[in-house]
Assembly symmetry: C2
Homo-oligomer: 501 residues x 2
């Protein structure tokens, strides 16, 4: 049992659970945190049926007459969900370490967001969705300054909102193509031939440029993004695509401190391949306008690389005149313990474009001045985002600051990762490669079938997890996930592993 | 003056304006309509400055430090906007015949939508945005049935929501590619080679399929959609694209009744070209998986074609085994006097896929059973739409039914188009080709420069219009636009034209 074998953690774990139910003796929860938690979080999982329960199954059948339901896990009662706990339609209450594919920043029904909804001054923002590109609301510049620009990555003062992650990356790619062509022209005035041919899908108006991406990456599912996505076949099968270069992403060996030489070599190999591909694609007549990369490949299996790797990649871009696009759709918003994962690289000029969505509630991207298109209507669509989502984001950022949530994430992430290390030592036949930054953690399971069995068993015991890659489990709790939540999870996870052994 | 030259309309126009201010004597406004109008609409334009006024100019400068503002018209006070009237930050109140690029269905701050916001049962839907594909809310099947399925096109019982118009079309294209490949295989099981090659952007996993589109079309700006968009160079310039076939769209001559033979010939020519392109692209090894078409090319210049044309196009798809995708992003939602523009074709089986967004408030598409992908995660993303938008849509549909808005649109559209015919007769050197269905109307101006001058002058007199194509003006009022609004506009338009002459 977990409490017997993890001697160092025994007391912590038991204490914390006790502390939770008897807050007076609590060592791990600050007073501030306790206050918020007591306000709107539940005190633990509570299971009434196996999941999906009968009501979820009934609804899945009903929805199956309307759309493909192959991916539906269960149906939710969002009204009853609170904080870190998702409640389903069969009355099961589960600790949520997946948070709607990493897209709920501060838990369910956070009081600050509910309050915002009842402010009559905000009604009009919800009811009248503007075409932001032509008719923005009066408070739009202030709202952008207050929300997105307050977390702008180093060196970036420009931001464009979009409706979702895919649209953000699509438009970021377009900005890189436009920037590259203007650079090539030496000015921003297209020729008549450029204009004439672009309308009929021909060069030179539609040039044969490319974006370099990495094996295992995920950048979205619309056709431009999909050409740079290489995590799973099912995403791409049967869809026409572009002949764009794909570089290997480092496959690090763990524990990192034991394999530093091997890992450095592996990263060098990948970087050399990047440069080779840039040269090769230029020779093929399809120059690389930009490189797109995730700071941690998420969907592809939580693949990390060192700050050195990313710094070198940034330099390769400078050397070859490509734009550098860091896709923080999954890593952004505080989950790694810093607001942006690229902050861990420790550089002043991390990227030319940084895209976001998910936890930021609105999609979009930051960019350096020179990446902003020179003319109107080059980057454009009807809505260009949604001010109602900016409103929520501004409040989420207030909560993050007020409750020091980045520190909390660092603390609870440490508890989570240390717990995973210990379980991995104990169940070495099942678990390996525990890794993470903040609460953005993952662990590998011996095989795909066991991974899926663990996910279901853990869920039936009241914890929601997600898979990624071939056989990894990814942890994506909200930013209000505390140390004691980590211990609730670790206890349950231990039970599942013990029964599996 | 307008009232002198349009003898038949004089009384109507003057009466209606009078009737508006003195509702008791009103002939044109039904009691139901009056009630709603009195509740939340204004009684006419009111201009204080030229547009953009000083405050708008100041804010444009401020926003210019954050993003490209080349397309910004002016800044809005959405709180003060009501019904058909958009109020700007300088206190100007304008009759809005453009409605945020045709995306406001029932006017600004409609009481029914405001009421929905204050219902505490709805709060959770706004605050907790789910990953709909995996964890839908309990009421999701019912909400889809109540809203989108209640307006499903003939022959379609399946619907997939998406965040915006571009994402809707991108995923509709993917569904057509998947359907086409499975048809070609004779089953839905990909080979190992299909799976292996798809991840690295190679055939056969990523096949060389194509979508046939029309010159002048607009289907969105993400890279798949953009490959089928051919309305303006600025949308496509410098962005890599696919070698997909582009057919001519009929260029009808007006008045239609005088050119019936010529127009029928023109449509035949285009249809022949469609068939030739399908054969040619099959021979090139890039078979046409689907054809995408707008019922009225909107952004491209409000280009209409006859019901016969679309029926023949549908038959060509059947004959050649291509899917038929009708893009109703701009035409859908009631603005043509029917809920879908394709209903004017009078066929039971109008399409395989119908996409929507804008006035429907959520993006998405309806599809026939056989177009639904066979497996989970083939059509997928984090949010898959937004239940908060479905909530608004359900209420919009209630209002449309309760207030018989489709009949109103037919009536006010007739007043608008008849007024345009008369003005066109009077100002034949400036205006031509007045055309429309419902309030989805347009008119051509002698040249681009005059068009833009008219747009600005009309705006300074309190009416917002939009341009489309090379030199057209498009009319896109909300569904609550009444006959007397048409006359307010016609009066002002006449003044502008008279001064221009």
């Amino acid at each position: 049992m977990y409490t017997h074998s993890l001697s160092a953690s025994v007391c912590v774990c038991v204490n914390v659970i006790n502390a939770y139910f008897f807050p007076l003796g609590c060592r791990y929860v600050s007073k501030t945190a306790t206050k918020t938690q007591v306000e709107f979080d539940y005190n633990g999982p509570s299971m009434k049926t196996s999941v999906p329960g009968p009501r979820s199954q009934e609804l899945t059948k009903q929805l199956g007459d309307i759309q493909n339901v192959g991916a539906v896990n269960f149906f939710c009662n969002y009204e009853e969900s609170r904080g870190n706990y998702l409640v389903d339609v069969d009355g099961n209450r589960m600790l949520d370490l997946y948070t709607q594919i990493s897209s709920i920043p501060i838990g369910y029904n956070h009081p600050a967001l509910l309050k915002l909804m009842t402010n009559p001054n905000n009604l009009s923002t919800f009811v009248n969705r503007p075409a932001l590109g032509i008719l923005p609301p009066e408070n739009f510049p202030d709202k952008l300054t207050e929300s997105l620009l307050s977390v702008a990555p180093s060196g970036m003062t420009r931001v464009q909102t979009m409706a979702c992650g895919s649209c953000s990356n699509e438009n970021a790619f377009k900005s890189m193509f436009i920037w590259y062509k203007n650079k090539e022209r030496g000015h921003s005035t297209p020729s008549d031939e450029d204009l004439r041919t672009s309308v009929i899908n021909q060069a030179p108006g539609c040039p044969d440029l490319s974006i370099l991406s990495f094996m295992g990456s995920f950048h979205g599912r619309t056709m431009g993004c999909l050409a740079t996505t290489h995590s799973k076949a099912i995403h791409k099968l049967d869809v026409p695509t572009f002949d764009w270069p794909i570089a290997p992403f480092p496959r690090l060996q763990y524990p990192l401190e034991e394999f530093s030489r091997e890992n450095a070599q592996e990263e060098s190999r990948c970087l050399e391949e990047v440069e080779d591909l840039i040269v090769k694609w230029r020779q093929k007549g399809k120059p690389v306008a930009g490189i797109v990369v995730e700071p941690i490949q998420a969907e592809g299996g939580d693949n990390h690389a060192s700050p050195d790797f990313f710094r070198s990649l940034r330099n390769i871009c400078r050397k070859h005149g490509c734009a550098f696009h860091v896709d923080e759709v999954q890593t952004g918003g505080g989950t790694t313990g810093k607001f942006w994962a690229h902050e861990h690289w420790g550089v002043d000029d991390p990227a030319d474009i940084v895209s976001f969505s998910k936890k930021l509630l609105t999609g979009g991207y930051f960019q350096k001045d020179e990446l902003q298109p020179d003319k109107a209507y080059r980057i454009f669509n009807t809505w260009m985002g949604d001010p109602a989502k900016n409103l929520f984001l501004a409040e989420v950022l207030n909560v993050i600051r007020r409750e020091n949530l980045l520190e909390e994430v660092t603390r609870s992430g440490k508890a989570l990762l240390n717990g995973l290390y210990e379980l991995q030592a104990q169940y070495s036949g099942i678990l390996s490669r525990a890794r993470g930054q903040g609460t953005f953690c993952a662990i590998d399971i011996c095989d795909d079938e066991t991974r899926n069995r663990i996910l279901l068993k853990t869920r039936d015991k009241g914890v929601i997890l997600g898979g990624c890659g071939d056989r990894s489990i990814r942890f994506r709790p909200a930013l209000i996930f505390k140390e004691y939540h980590a211990h609730i999870f670790l206890n349950i996870f231990n039970d599942v592993l013990a029964q599996l052994k």
